[in-house]
Every structure is written in C-alpha cells, then in structure tokens.
Symmetry: none
C-alpha cells in the first residue's frame, strides 16, 4: 500500500511554521509498513488543493491530509477532499449537537461557520477528536482511502496514534513493516564509508544509505518484511556485515551522540577525563556534561581562552607558549597533560586552534586546530585543517577530540 | 513569478529528519515577493524525482531543489534536474581541479564519485559553495529556472542568502515584498509579552506575532508593501511601539542570540567576564566563545562539576559547601565571585543546580538552580525552579545567567 501526505496551510507554504506533523505521520506510516510515495504542501487555495489531492489519489492508495479542518473560511480541506472523492458532505446531527453544547456551555455563540465542523462524508465517517472541536474525517470510495487530520499537534498526534494508526494496521492486515537502524560513524569521511559498503548500497532490501553530518556519518540500514521480527533479523545480518568492514569507526547505534558513547565507555572502565579548551571554549565540557550521569566520569574542565589564562591555569605552558605560539602541537599537548594532572584524572583533552572568522595567517590559517588526548602512557596529538564557519570548526574540533578519546580508551 | 520547492531525500520522506531548509527557503522567497505555489518531498528515486520536477516546471517559473547533491549514488538531484530540463551535464574542469586539490591536500584519495560534483548544466552554471565540496547548480532554459541547493544547513543557508536570493531579486526586479523583523526578548514570559502587545496582534498589516522559545520569546513584525522601503517603514513604526512597551526586555533584533548581545555590550563598555559553572557544565562559556571576537571580553572559564573541583579551583568554597551544600545561593555567589577575582575580570558568572534527570530530593528538586552575577559593587543572585528535560534546565540556566549579566551591564 502506498500513501501520500498532503499538508494544507499558507503558513506552512511560506515557511512561517515548520511542518513537524508530516514527519511524525511519515514515521507512523513507515512503521505500519505503508510506503510514503510523496509529501506535498499546498496553501489555502481550493483549486490547488483539489489538484494535489486528485494527483495523490492517482498515484497512491491512501491520501492523508493535515490541517485546514477549523471553522474559518480558509479551512478548506473538508470541501477539498469531498471534491477530490466526488463525495457529498452531510451534516452529522450528533456532532452538531456536541458543538452546540460545547459553545453554549462556554457562553459563546454557535456560529454557522462552527457547524461546518459537523459535516461528514457520505462514503465515510468522522474520526473522534477528544482534544478539539474539529473531528477528523475518513473517506472510502472506489478502493481509495482519504483521511483528514487536524493541524494542532495536540489534536493531531493523539488522533494519529489512537485512531488512524489502528485503522490502517487493520486495513493493511499490518502486513509489511519497515524498520531501520542507524550506525553512527566517526573519524571516517562519507566517501570512504561509501567505498567500504558500495556493494551493500546496491541491494533493495535491506537498503544501506550514508548521510553526512558535521564531523560524522550515519549509515542507515532499512529493511522491509512481513513482521517486525523478520525485518529486524534482516537488519541484524546486514549490520553485522557493515560492522565487519567499519569496525571501531562505528561508535553507537541510533540516537546516541558521540559524547554519550564516550561517557558510557569511561563508566564501564571506571575512568575519568578532564578538559582544557582554548578554541572550543567549553564545547567539549558542555557536550560531556550534557549526558545524564556524566558526573561519575567528569569532575573538572578549564576554558583557557587567552594566553594569560593558559599560563595561570597551567604554569608549565609559559615557556611552551613563548617558543611555539598558542596554536601549536606543543600547547595542545600541554593543555591535555595539564588538565589530566590537575588532580589525577585518567585522561586529559587539550584543544587549541583558530576557529575564525578572523585571526588566521598564511602560516596558521583559520581552521588549523591541534587536538590532544593525554593518558598514563603518553599523549596522542592530531593536527587538523577544518573548512567551514566558526561553528563548524568548533564542532569538528570537539568531535575529533571526543573520538580520539574514545579510540584511546578502546586501546585499553 | 511562481516557485516550487522540491526537497529530495528518503530520510525526509520517512520523517527521519525534519525539513527546516524548505521552510527557510520559503521564507526567503516570500520576502523577495516570489509566491510559493507548492512544496513537494520525494525520496531518492529517479523516476519520481523527475516526475515531480516536470510537474513543477509545468506549474511554476522557478523550481528549487534541496538536497541530493553529494558524491554518493543516492545523490540523484543533479541528474534528475538535467533530465527534467532536457539538459546535458558537462564537467567543469575548474571545479574538478578544486576537488582534486581539496582531497589531495588532506591526503585523501580522489574517488570517481567525488568528481560527479564537478558536473554542471550546459544551459546554466554552478553556484559557488565556500562551505562544502558540492557546488549548487543553476539551470536556465525555455524561460524556466532550476536551482539546486545542497542539503546540509551550514552549506544551504549561506548559499541561499548570498547567492540565490540576490540572483532572484535581480531576476524579479523585486516587485511586491513581504519583510519582517524579529524582536528577541529575554526575562519575560510569552503570556506577559502577549498581554503588552495584544492590540497590535489584531492588525493585518503589519502583523505582530509572538513565538515562544526555550528561555526567550520572539516577536515577529511582518509588513507587506510595494517596495522594501515601504515595508521597512511600516515595520519601523510598529517596532518603535513595541519597544516602548517592552523596553530593555528586548535584547536584539533578528538572528543575534543573547550571547552576541552580551559580547557586544561588554565590548562597548570595555569590560570582561569570567565563568564558573557547575550544572551548566561549560554551556555558558561555550555560548560566549561561540561569538566571533569574544576573545576581547572573555579570557577564562571554569567547569567545577564535582565538589572537589569547586574547592580546588576556589578554596574559599570549602566552608561554604560544608555549611550550605553544593546547590545553594551561597555556592552560586562563591563561584561568581571566585571566577571574577581569579584574575581581575569585571564580571563573574556562577551557576549551580540540579539539571536532572536524577539527583533531585524533596527539598532540592530537579530544576532547582541558583544563578549569580558578581560585579565590582556586589553580586546578583537568582533562584529558579525550571521545568523540563536536562537540556531544557541547562539551556534556561545559561539563558538566565546571560540575561542577568546583560541587565547588570546596562545598569552601568
């Protein structure tokens, strides 16, 4: 079964609000095993709405609309769907009475426009909405299904979860499920990831697709099967193949960010880390402490932004700064070692560089960053030339530091 | 002129990511006076993409695509647009050389797939992308325009603002314009803001609408007029009325976050600030140093996450911690004063609290945060009970600290 989502509203078309409902609905449909063919957004314009709905009914079995069910003149979805389905709306007296009670009990006049919300399809029915006055609508005609959902998320989400999803599950016999797993990868670029799994990307089921993020790559494995168990088995087998090829570059599955993987690993090993940051300015400490329970593995961090601050906090940096300058391998190492030895943490992270947009020179351009991880047996240092905005340079620096720490912990 | 936006990507179609780019682009088009006819989202499927593009070219003058320009096999937008425009892509040697240098200088192999990013339309040109390897593309044929934008927001937004918007402004002669101004407000809740501008919210042009964010409120003033100048005049008059009612609660206009306003204010006054953070874990330092040029006003910050770290860094806290506990007015004040006096900064920020989800008690629940700003004449301290996730508690704490500092600087 194939579905199309049609979002209705000029405010969506103009980008004044973000359409989170459509993404939510697409997710629910995928989980049921209904493939989403296309998503369309149209404004409050009857001709364009009807054209979009007719096109959707040509291409798909199910059309779901979001929004435009309210009482005002620009709420046109009800009439638009009736036109596309060649259906005639009739007044549902039970709903009309409920609306009447609703307004009367609030000492509000029952306007004729409010009673438009009592109109339901001849070939279909209303869908109850305990959280608002506008019921949803179900059209069923000539083997096609139309479902109209309200726009306010506090009405839309419960109606989707409690009414629409069960109806569609039953309608489809819940046959076919799409499940997916995201493998999160750090320290390897998108082209390189693709190069390693190119052959797997040719397969239709499960599919394997890379998505580039700032400083990491997500590899999504998606399988379609009759049951969730079968889909999960297909995914597990494919994920194992990917793991064999990318091994420890994969730092987590699904939603856990890199800092979560690092905190988990430190907890498992009973180790702690301290930070001394220059160009990242607290970003690494912030990301580590963003993880609930990080207080077990992180006790202290330093933001040594100016040269004076670096020397105050770590006096041994005075000579190093003089000899090598603030943006140097030696200062990164000094910060990492200084953070680690301040009060006996197991690891220390040090970062220094030029985040931009100003402050670069021919010799030390914007994006030049030195990142160090100190540990009992020594200190790893990497030099990077990041390209991008100040925010991108800082994010990639933090990402590299956290990944270097992760790989160092894995070494034992 | 009429435009259609086509977002490309299976991850968008399945609702795995939210399409903020399309909303951004729709906004920019409206401001130029180009009406957005429809928005469509298709997956990584060539036939469906080409069908959607052909339909869009039938209905509109301009088609803008977002995403699918990367080097991997499922990046199909380049070829899809060429098919819809009946154009042939040719290799741009200058771009190919730039890609070659990019990868070679990073000691990375230049894969054949990377060089697909050097293919440009015969009837058109590339659009420069200083923030990534994939250039944008411009197709111009038979009176229709096609524009391909990259998906990563850090590439998409600058290209839209700096390349596409000026091109379209010139193309349309910029007739009929919607302009808007956002007034950013901190320290006052949404209901209070609404209460103060209720009457202005009834007007149709300019419109005034509040949007609640975490720890702040944005008030959007939007005007429609024949020229940008006329629209701006309408906005200026309305904004002046709002300013009269909300005065110093308005910290900035448009895109500048609170930390930018704080850094600007410190620069103007020639003052500096230092931070000592417990529950925000570096978030405040990170936000301050996120502002380009912040090194003039910020030199040092401390993340004193554990009690031991607090005492190591600020020895005077030892007795205070014993007497009052870590989450107390006295510790917040001690951190702020300690940060300030470490090496003579003008202001010190101190924050301590329980970000959750664990660690709360009946007496000191999750969300209890003390925030202090120390200055030459004393120390402001606020007690807050924030409601929400760990991230929300931390964000609101940082927001409150930055706003307290802003108000303190304004006092002289």
């Amino acid at each position: 079964m194939r579905a199309e989502i049609v979002s209705v509203g000029t405010e969506l078309l103009l980008g004044q609000i973000i359409d989170t409902n459509a993404a939510y609905l697409a997710n629910v449909l995928s989980e049921i095993g209904i493939s989403v063919y296309r998503r369309v957004t149209v404004g409050d314009n009857m001709d364009r709405l009807v054209a979009a709905l007719r096109q959707a009914l040509d291409d798909s079995d199910i059309v779901l609309t979001i929004g435009g069910l309210g009482p005002t003149m620009d709420d046109i979805t009800r009439d638009g769907l009736a036109a596309a389905f060649d259906d005639k709306l009739v007044r549902d007296e039970a709903i009309a009475e409920r609306l009447d009670r609703f307004f009367t009990s609030r000492n509000m006049p029952v306007l004729e426009s409010n009673l438009r919300q009592a109109m339901v399809p001849t070939d279909g029915r209303s869908i109850s909405n305990p959280h608002g006055t506008a019921p949803g609508l179900l059209f069923e005609k000539n083997g096609k299904i139309g479902i109209a959902l309200p726009g306010p998320p506090n009405e839309f989400i419960p109606m989707t979860d409690n009414e629409v999803a069960p109806y569609l599950r039953q309608k489809t016999g819940n046959v076919g499920t799409i499940r997916s797993l995201v493998l999160r990868i750090a320290g390897v670029g998108e082209s390189m990831v693709e190069d390693r799994v190119k052959d797997l990307m040719m397969d239709a089921n499960p599919t394997v697709a890379p998505y580039a993020k700032v400083g990491e790559v997500h590899l999504r494995v998606t399988a379609r099967a009759n049951t969730a168990e079968e889909a999960d088995a297909l995914i597990a087998e494919r994920a194992a193949m990917v793991r064999e090829r990318l091994s420890e570059a994969i730092y987590a599955e699904n939603d856990d960010p890199l800092e979560k993987a690092v905190v988990t690993l430190l907890k498992e090993k009973g180790r702690t880390v301290a930070t001394a940051e220059s160009c990242t300015g607290g970003l690494i400490a912030q990301r580590i402490t963003d993880v609930a329970g990080s207080s077990a593995v992180f006790h202290r961090g330093f933001v040594a932004y100016s040269n004076d601050a670096k020397v105050e906090m770590f006096s041994e940096l005075e000579a190093i700064l003089r000899d090598h300058g603030a943006v140097s391998r030696e200062v990164a190492e000094g910060l990492a070692r200084g953070a680690r030895s301040w009060n006996g943490d197991d690891y220390g992270i040090g970062v220094t560089g030029i985040a931009g947009p100003d402050g670069g020179t021919a010799e030390k351009p914007v994006g030049l960053v030195y990142i160090a991880v100190a540990y009992a047996g020594g200190c790893d240092v990497e030099k990077a030339n990041f390209i991008g905005s100040r925010q991108v340079v800082r994010t990639r620096s933090a990402q590299t530091a956290l990944n270097m720490l992760r790989l160092r912990i894995l070494k034992g």
